[in-house]
Symmetry: C2
């Protein structure tokens, strides 16, 4: 952890500028919390109107303190806040937490004031938290530089969870939900407007706390993706799962977010790809974060997704089978031996296949649970276990079921979760540390998340070697013309269509003759990136005369459009099995972003695409392709041969490496269509458009 | 309600065959429940070993009773159960509830015994409930012919909800969840194996209880769709919402269901269409049924879906905007006047657009809530209101917020729901009857369901006049040939491609000449329904000679295949904007089912389809088309004109009416592709295949 963050999360001395005697006021709460929750450093209330605050000596000013504090908590607002920050910076305070709002979130003027304040702090070597933040809280050492009322509502307990959030409300909510589930929470930090320190910075610091076993983030913008990526890499290394909420998913949400904190909206698919790439699991809200926490803390890292469902209700078995498909957790195919073992232990009318229906016979024989579980435990086909008890109560020995389940979990180490909505049924399981949920969707959602997130965290990290790109063709327009674009791809060993750039009707005639029928004739000009919209693409050209005539027509048309007459392309016309699109762009936040999807003219309308962030390899592209709606076509349907997916993957990797190598020179690459043939036939780029940076 | 059902749900006398003194035993519980919950009829315990059971005189046998009871509850198992049922039937008992399991769910032999028992009961005029059922319970009159332990776990209270379920476990679970939410439940009925009485029969009866305002169903099979449809029609008439769980959605689930109760698996898309058609809302499980119950019981029937989000957390506003898109509840565009009114009431840095961010200023001014709500109430753009309070506690006057919300709701009558996970925050709202949920997804899910279900219940019901279909072309094969199939469609005014059935090369030559280029030549044989797979379709035929040659080739090929040589079709070749598919089949459960979707060769692989049940009209088809993934193409993209959706809808309606009129004669109709042109250009069927019943 850097020293500067250390000064905020583990300060030896804290000044509270605007300290209050009233523990219900913002200026009173941090002092109250620190004294109450065991902070061992020195607390300096600053309040010129008082001699003493909450039993501590009160000081008139920062200057009056006996030392320069590590951390200053700025409670005062408006101009006074700015003045206090400046004084902290001048005096060598290491970190200042600015609670006051009315800065960046309040409009252009506030943004300017905030920026200037942060710039001065940075120049002085002080880190700034906020403004407009609920502050920081470390229950590992009692350093509570924050004012959340939630620490009164739900008493804190130190534990293995860290929360870092842009929003104070969401940090408090996650904290409260986790504590409500009986889980201990160490870090509860909010970054507010992020004039200096971001969620990513604090995530880095918290990830380095060895006691933290689960890191939860809430973001409205990813201000510092590089730092977040580094944090994620470090977290994967030490097997620390990160579960993030990124709000502002939708257009309306991004609008709301920008009025909330002035966030820069990131295209949501790129955000998804970023999280996925770095092994961060994304969920919709703090409820989902809290829901899965216990299962993560069990240390379960399932190797597979094959599920066993056990219930005392036949209907729950039916619904469990439905849900196994819904959540992508296929029912484990139990071995004949396991099935026989289970059947031997169950009454005759019970089902010994998976889902396992223990039936209401459980009512008369409480031992059934304990009998069945070991029989299943020995089957290697099972990765995950789900016990659903929709109905129990008087007459059921739930304590015995729970003890049997705990014994099962301890002996197998495999994930086992329970759904029981009756508090009396859930309690014995919870008491034994079995993650227990109110319903099947929650329970299976958590198992699915655990399995998927584990796979994501263990995904091999790829590396692309640094490489020097030869100079791009000279030109001052925004776009390279098609011939230049295709040549750039071809130079990277990407297969492009056979074509000639012609500058006379004669050349067009010769090119057609060389190509054979049918051919395509299309105008080539950096000024006309979208040729078809201007009638500048002719398909199925069936004679050399036609090609020559089309040259004249298109050449003239370019002149009419006032576009540069770079030439006319005559290209061979190909048929493949399917058209894909590959795109790449420099994202202002994430850098190179690559898109692959169903191609053709309806790319934008149907949006059947997947996003990848570099570096990635063919296996990653293949996995992305399998998420497309058209994925069934990849393997061949209706007697068709499978597509040459490997060739397509190679094109996608090559396009990704090109834009990564051309950082600062290429803004975007649009390759559409890429014609993909049957396996072994390869792929071929028919059209390309490169945009200069 | 029919008399027979009346005898079960409102019996004047109940015999319990296998009565027990022990109130924890299955034979003891019904008597205990009836005495405890105010049953005013006569209870006759039958237990030859006892003089008295639970304070009531015990009888040796059915014959010993002073009267023939309305209802007999058969607790004894196995052969004794069968004998008891037979005796009840012989003596004129009106209804028998058979608790015992080991019948239809236990295999072929059990099924046979169950069937014979039910047949004998039916012949005697007795209705049979079960076997393998938890029984019936009517808390309106205390007639509890069931043994669920849940009535001990969660004390009953009569109320406006009826539950009818195949599964005893699921009826108990729904009951328990509803009671846990403080809602009263009158009917809790389980039908088990449904040897006679089905969920649909009981739903019909319960729907006729005027006190019931919400009807919840759980089904694994729809055994009696006609009765369920009638029930739904009656329910719509009296504004009674029906919310159903249909388990066995997936293939694994259907497999599990068939081992559970021997259910006949219905194709799940048809199930969805059936529910939709009849205004029944489908949810995943009893949790979802219980979750939405309170909002239904408020009587809210929203006219629209435009949402207003109000929160004291900026982050919740961002997430609320995301969620509004996720749940299809667009944010209401508040009028400038409303926004000004709201802005006037909020502190400067708060947001006056929708979502409305009251900010933490609520902490210092508890009146903000009460100030803002009336300002929004007057705006006609708002249909639904969602108040999200992710964080509150000491210092917040939650009582005042709740009182203001209740006042708002009372004055507008518009749906308003709250999300608050802190029990202390939720309680004041709940106390005032405001539906309050643990999180945003639950709250908005309920609002979306309410809006969608209301629209579904109010959908105009269509009617198709009965019509006589002329005789189908004679033939004994399974399929009509293409020419016959096209002719059948054409006779129903469905536009089909211009074509000729040729029986000689000469005719093929003439036909080509009449058609012009390019044409299609394809073999026509009722024995070869899938022509392309045998190379029997030639596209782009460019000369009369080619047509003649193709005739010879295809004619010979038919002979080689041993198929009937019905002829060779020469058809005009058309281009349209998009290919659709229309299919229709006689479903063994639902009768005629119509499918429309993206057409072409990948229909099965990509499955972009919507299902409709007759009768429906063009508006219904249009709505179905808008659920397709290719829906964006309907309106025209990339400068293309919109498609002739009206023409496509007309084809779908005509195909639906054809299969409905041909019930018993046509098993299926496959129309693929239907070529649809730009608006005004019409639609045209290029190929059709009719399967005889």
């Amino acid at each position: 952890m850097s020293d500067l963050l250390e000064s905020a999360l583990n300060p030896q001395s804290v000044a509270v500028i605007g300290a209050s005697e009233n523990i219900h006021k913002i200026g009173g709460r941090p002092i109250y919390y620190m004294q109450r929750h065991g902070f061992r450093g020195r607390i300096y209330p600053i309040n010129p109107a008082r001699q003493e605050v909450q039993g501590l000596r009160s000081y008139e000013s920062l200057a009056a303190l006996p030392e320069v504090p590590d951390l200053a908590l700025v409670i005062v607002g408006g101009d006074k806040a700015v003045a206090a920050v400046d004084e902290c910076a001048a005096r060598g305070v290491k970190s200042a937490v600015v609670i006051a709002s009315g800065f960046g979130e309040a409009g252009a003027q506030g943004r300017a004031v905030q920026q200037a304040m942060a710039d001065r702090a940075r120049a002085a070597g002080m880190r700034l938290y906020g403004p407009n933040t609920q502050g920081l809280a470390n229950f590992g050492n009692g350093a509570i530089a924050g004012f959340s009322t939630m620490f009164v509502e739900v008493p804190p307990a130190d534990g293995p969870i860290g929360i870092v959030s842009q929003s104070g409300g969401m940090s408090a909510m996650a904290y409260g939900l986790l504590r409500g589930r009986g889980l201990g929470v160490r870090h509860v930090h909010a970054t507010g407007n992020e004039a200096d320190v971001t969620v990513s910075d604090l995530a880095w610091a918290v990830a380095h706390d060895p006691e933290v076993k689960l890191l939860l983030l809430y973001l409205e913008t990813i201000a510092n993706p590089g730092m977040l990526a580094r944090t994620a890499a470090y977290a994967r290394e030490r097997d620390l799962p990160i579960v993030a909420v990124k709000a502002g998913r939708s257009e309306s949400g991004q609008k709301a977010a920008s009025s909330h904190t002035g966030s820069l909206a990131n295209e949501d698919r790129a955000v998804d790809a970023f999280f996925k790439h770095h092994g961060i699991w994304r969920v919709r809200d703090p409820h989902a974060q809290a829901l899965a926490a216990e299962a993560y803390l069990k240390g379960w890292r399932p190797e597979g997704r094959r599920l066993v469902v056990i219930s005392n209700s036949g209907a729950s078995c039916v619904m469990g089978a439905d849900a196994s498909e819904e959540f992508g957790l296929p029912l484990a195919e139990l071995s004949p031996r396991t099935r026989q073992d289970v059947a031997d232990r169950l009454p005759g009318f019970a089902t010994a296949s998976n889902p396992i229906d223990i039936t209401a016979a459980l009512l008369s024989n409480s031992g059934l649970f304990g009998d069945v579980l070991p029989a299943v435990a020995q089957d290697p086909a099972a990765d995950l276990f789900f016990i659903n008890i929709p109905v129990a109560g008087a007459g059921y020995d739930v304590e015995a079921f729970a003890a049997d389940t705990a014994r099962f979990e301890a002996s197998t180490g495999k994930p086992v979760v329970v759904a029981a909505w009756q508090a009396s049924v859930a309690a014995p399981f919870k008491a034994r540390g079995i993650p227990t949920y109110g319903n099947e969707s929650e329970a299976l959602g958590v198992l699915a998340q655990l399995a998927s997130h584990t796979a994501l965290m263990r995904r091999p990290q790829r590396a692309w070697p640094a490489e020097a790109l030869p100079p791009l063709p000279a030109g001052k327009g925004r776009f390279m013309n098609e011939a230049e674009s295709l040549a750039l791809l071809a130079a990277r060993d990407i297969p492009v269509v056979v074509h000639r750039l012609c500058r006379s009707a004669r050349q067009a005639r010769d090119a057609w003759t060389a190509m054979g029928v049918p051919a395509v004739v299309k105008a080539c000009s950096g000024d006309v990136p979208h040729k078809s919209e201007h009638g500048l693409v002719a398909l199925h050209v069936r004679s050399a005369d036609d090609a020559a005539a089309l040259f004249e027509k298109q050449w003239t048309r370019l002149a009419e459009l006032g576009a540069s007459q770079d030439g006319v392309i005559v290209a061979a016309m190909h048929r493949g099995r399917h058209e894909f699109m590959v795109g790449a762009r420099q994202d202002p936040v994430f850098g190179p972003v690559v898109v692959v999807g169903d191609g053709g003219k309806y790319v934008e309308a149907l949006q059947d695409v997947a996003v990848l962030l570099p570096p990635f390899d063919s296996a990653d592209v293949g996995a992305a392709l399998r998420t497309l709606r058209i994925a069934p076509l990849l393997e061949g349907v209706r007697g068709e041969p499978p597509l040459d997916v490997a060739a397509l993957c190679a094109v996608v990797v090559a396009v990704g490496r090109l834009i990564a190598a051309a950082s600062g020179r290429i803004a975007s690459i649009d390759v559409n269509p890429v014609l993909v043939g049957a396996r072994g036939e390869g792929a071929m780029v028919l059209d390309a458009l490169v945009e200069r940076a």
